[in-house]
Structure formats: structure tokens, C-alpha cells
Amino acid sequence: MKELVIISGKGGTGKTSLAGCFAYLAENKVLADCDVDAADLHILAHPKPFHEEDFRGGIKAVIDPEKCTQCGSCREACRFGAITEDFAVNPIACEGCGVCFHVCPEGAVALEEGVNGRWFLSETRFGPMAHAALRPGEENSGKLVALVRNQAKVLAKDRNASLILVDGAPGVGCPVISSITGADQALIVTEPTLSGLHDMERALKLVFGFHMPVSVVINKYDVNPEVAERIEAVSAQAGATVLGRIPYDPQVIRSMVQRHTVVEDGDSPASIAIREIWAKLEPTLLS
């Protein structure tokens, strides 16, 4: 079984659109949407959950005003400025470290486990999928990503799947690191802009830290063919395989509005390019 993670560095380069196309084209796979704070793959995949659970990723401190003598020990010890003027806990600032609980001489602080999100196992029109929704504004997205990845693995074993397709998050921080961990291969989707190039270089550096093969796809390459060439040169030099270029194609958005992937809607230029990319990628994913 192989695990392919799709990331981008820069947001909005087409990760989820491409992941949706691969989900349509690939056989015998399980999907994992690991962009848990802005998950979009379900919009294309139309999941029907057969199992769902709350995600409890962390704790928050709560002060009992009856027991609190306002001595100030908690506020002095809290490094996150989470204790308010009137000795309550600001849940947004609270890091869940529990230091206030330990220093309070009155035992007035309780640590409560909160629900940070919900995760799902679903049947979709592309096959089984593990996905989640972090509660808007919550933390611990890295833990939820790890949970989704692990659930996808269990699902893949159950169904005898040969491939796990992971749709990752933008950036290079906590959720991205968590989505790369344990993958066999990474694919970076970028765009031919100086920002796309800059962010891809950072993503490449991150992925190489994990010692896994990485390939690059340039979306909307014709917006700036010169920068596209630079991206190819930088990728090749770094040891990444350039898998292909996708042209700017208004059909991509038209298909998205229909909740389709572009490869389902005829032979538009993007559809042809994506099928060619998949034909090159698929053999590398056979275990």
C-alpha cells in the first residue's frame, strides 16, 4: 500500500481540484482529506458518512469563582495571557498547558476536555474516505490530521486498497508536517508566479527533511511560461520530478460549480493534461 500526499506551500494552487481528479482516475484507493481546517474535497466527492465521532484534541482551564481567592498565582504563571482581569480563562488564549491548575493554592482550576471537531468515515462516489472538520477557530489541527491519516490507513487495510490519496493543507506548519508524516511520496502543486515559486521552495525543503520522493505539477502554467520554466529548473535541481504542466482552463471552475472534477467533463485542455500527469504518476505508486 502506498500513501501519496498532495501539498502546495501556497494556498489556492489547485491541490483539491487535482486530488479530486486523481480520486476519480485512481482505482482501489482510499481518500483522506487532511486539510482539516478548510476541507473542500467533500464538495467534489459527495460523501455519505457511515461512522462519525467527536474529536477531543485538548483541554482548557476553567476557574471556579466560588473557590478562587483572586491571589493571582495563575495569572503570574500563565505565559499565554489567558487569565482575564476578573480571573476567568479566555478560552481563545488558553494553550491548555495546565500550569494554572498546578499552581492554584485553592484547587479552583479545573481542566476540561473540549470537543475540537468531528471526524468521519464515508462512502463517496470515488470510494471510501476519511475526513474531518475542525471546529472553526480551534487548535490541535495537527492531531486531527494524524487521526484522519490513521483512520484512512485502517480503512485501506479493511478494503484491501493499494493507495491512500491524501489532500494536504497549505503552508509548511503543524497540519502540513502532520500530513506528510508517514507518507511514501509527496506531490507539490504550484503555480507559475513568484509567490508560487517561493512557497514551493519552502515546501520542497520541508518534504526533503522527510526523505521521500517528491514530484511537482505546475497549474495554469501559461499565465507565465517563463516562471514555469524557472520552477522546473529549481525542482529538477532539488531532485524533484517535474510531472507536468496544466494550462489555464475556465472549464475547471465550471466543473467545480457543478461539483464535478474537470476530468469527468470531456476533453478540455486541463482534463487532457491531468490525465497525462496521472498516467505518469500511477506506475510510481504501485507497490
Binding site: A38, V99, A169, V172, G173, T193, H198, D199, N224, I253
Partner: protein
């Protein structure tokens, strides 16, 4: 005044909007790039960076001479950053949140604090616009403390414009918290709308006034407009898809260089934001008195 620019979905035009708003305001503006995982404002603004400061987080260092392996530190740490196994104490600095609990609560005073590098914070000027950015070290998972360091540089005498990261989780909340207005930049597509809804849900609890800028407003469908209308969120501006702007951006040109005729639109958006902030401040004063 502090204006943050967020979006939910990535790649909708946050940085394009934030940089051109700063350029339209000129010396009145300070631009702070809080998307520390992938900071891109510098590509468009080409600032002259004058200072660079390494931002660190405190992590535990155990003095084994004093340590009795009592296990207190491992029991206190909620992040598995310090673990006691038999007579040994293992630290995992990359897991540490810097709460200081282990060093504070060690009965032997055996734990002091070292540091882990989170990234750098740089300051300078891009023409007349004051400029600040954070760059997260590659491999570092925790961006919020670096975002806080960037925000500590907010100049109260200027219109501070904060370019937020995409998404709707803690790095975004850390950026927009305490700002006077949140601009949400989106595009009228199913992905754009879905992520806009998540962003609105995440920030509603902060009770900061917000408005939406619809970028590439002539692609996709009408659902985002209908959503804003239904939720009573003001639509500050619509910017249609324009190949000139996209190509300029690809070369690292700000929108106002590729399409200078948009200058007035940015100034009008600023006026709308200022009015809305003034109204909110007046209402807050009224509640207090």
C-alpha cells in the same frame, strides 16, 4: 487602526489586497505579513529590510546532577515534551509549547530553560510603507508565537494592515484577534464559499466588524453574494478576473502597478472600513457608559 485580511481558502487574493491597500495609503500604512508559513508580501513590496531578529521559544534543559527522576515534570507536561523513564529524563524540544510548567514545578529546581528557534522577524520599509514580516523556520510546526512577535511591532500611529494565513484555525485567530476590522477576501466558487463560511464562523465570536472582498468576481456562481446578503456582511468591493492583474502578480507586481485605475476603489474600501470601525467604537463606548 488595525485591519486584518483573511480568507479561509488560500490563493483568493489576500496578499494582493493587503499590499495594494497599503500602497494606496502610502506613508499612513504599516504592512505586517502574519502568514509566517509562506510570507509573500515581500515578493510584491520588495522592502528594504533593516532589522532581523531570531524569535525563540523556551524549552526545558535538565540538570541531571540535581534531578532525582521523581517524575513530576513528565506528569505536568501535557505535550509529551518531557518524559521520565526509570532514572532517565528525555526531552523533545520540538513538542514543547513553552509553558514553563516543568521548570516552575520541579521540586529540585533541576530544570532551566534553553530555547528553540521558531523563525525570524524582519522589519524595514517598502517605499513609504512601514514593513514587518515573520518567516517560520522550515520544520517548525508552531506559528502562533511568531505571529504574536510580528504583531508586537504594530505601530499605533499608523493604519496597520495584517496579512493573515489561509484557513480558519489557531494561526488565523491569533492574527485577527484584537484587530479593529477583518476583511475576508474570497472568490465566488464552491470552495471559496465553503471556506468563507468557516472563516466567518471562526471569527464571529470575536465580535470584530467584517466585510467581504469578492476577487475574480466574474468567475463561478452567485452563491457567495447571496450568502453575504443573507448574513448581512457588507460586500466591500468586487474585482473582476483580469489577465493583466494575474500576469503582473506572477512577475511579483502589486495590483496597483498592473491596474493603477483601482487606486480609487482601494481608497473607497478604506473609507468604508474606517466608517464601520468608528461606528463600532462609538457603539462600544455607549455600552460602557
Amino acid at each position: 487602526m488595525i485591519i486584518s485580511v483573511a480568507s479561509g481558502k488560500g490563493g483568493t487574493g489576500k496578499t494582493t489586497f493587503a499590499t495594494s491597500l497599503a500602497l494606496a495609503l502610502g506613508s499612513k500604512a504599516q504592512l505586517l505579513d502574519c502568514d509566517v508559513e509562506e510570507p509573500n508580501c515581500h515578493i510584491l513590496m520588495k522592502p528594504d529590510l533593516q532589522t532581523s531578529e531570531t524569535i525563540t521559544m523556551p524549552t526545558p534543559v535538565v540538570d541531571m546532577e540535581k534531578c532525582t527522576a521523581c517524575g513530576k515534570c513528565g506528569e505536568v507536561c501535557r505535550f509529551s515534551a518531557i518524559v521520565v523513564i526509570g532514572e532517565q529524563v528525555l526531552t523533545f524540544p520540538e513538542m514543547c509549547h513553552g509553558c514553563g510548567g516543568c521548570s516552575l514545578l520541579c521540586p529540585e529546581g533541576a530544570i532551566s530553560e534553553g530555547s528553540r528557534e521558531l523563525g525570524v522577524m524582519e522589519t524595514g520599509f517598502a517605499g513609504s510603507v512601514e514593513f514587518v514580516q515573520g518567516r517560520l523556520r522550515i520544520g517548525e510546526a508552531m506559528s502562533p508565537p511568531l505571529i504574536k512577535a510580528v504583531k508586537n511591532k504594530i505601530n499605533p500611529n499608523k493604519v496597520a494592515i495584517l496579512d493573515a494565513p489561509p484557513g480558519a484555525s489557531c494561526p488565523v485567530i491569533n492574527t485577527v484577534m484584537g484587530t479593529d476590522y477583518i476583511v475576508l477576501v474570497t472568490e465566488p466558487t464552491p470552495f471559496g464559499l465553503h471556506d468563507l463560511k468557516i472563516a466567518v464562523e471562526a471569527i464571529t465570536a470575536l465580535t470584530v466588524p467584517m466585510g467581504v472582498v469578492l476577487n475574480r468576481s466574474d468567475i463561478g456562481d452567485d452563491e457567495a453574494r447571496l450568502y453575504c446578503k443573507e448574513k448581512g456582511i457588507p460586500l466591500l468591493a468586487e474585482i473582476p478576473h483580469d489577465r493583466r492583474i494575474a500576469e503582473g502578480y506572477s512577475r511579483g507586481e502589486p495590483l496597483l502597478s498592473s491596474a493603477p485605475e483601482y487606486r480609487d476603489l482601494f481608497l473607497q474600501v478604506f473609507d468604508k472600513i474606517e466608517q464601520s470601525v468608528n461606528t463600532a467604537h462609538a457603539a462600544a463606548k455607549e455600552t460602557l457608559s
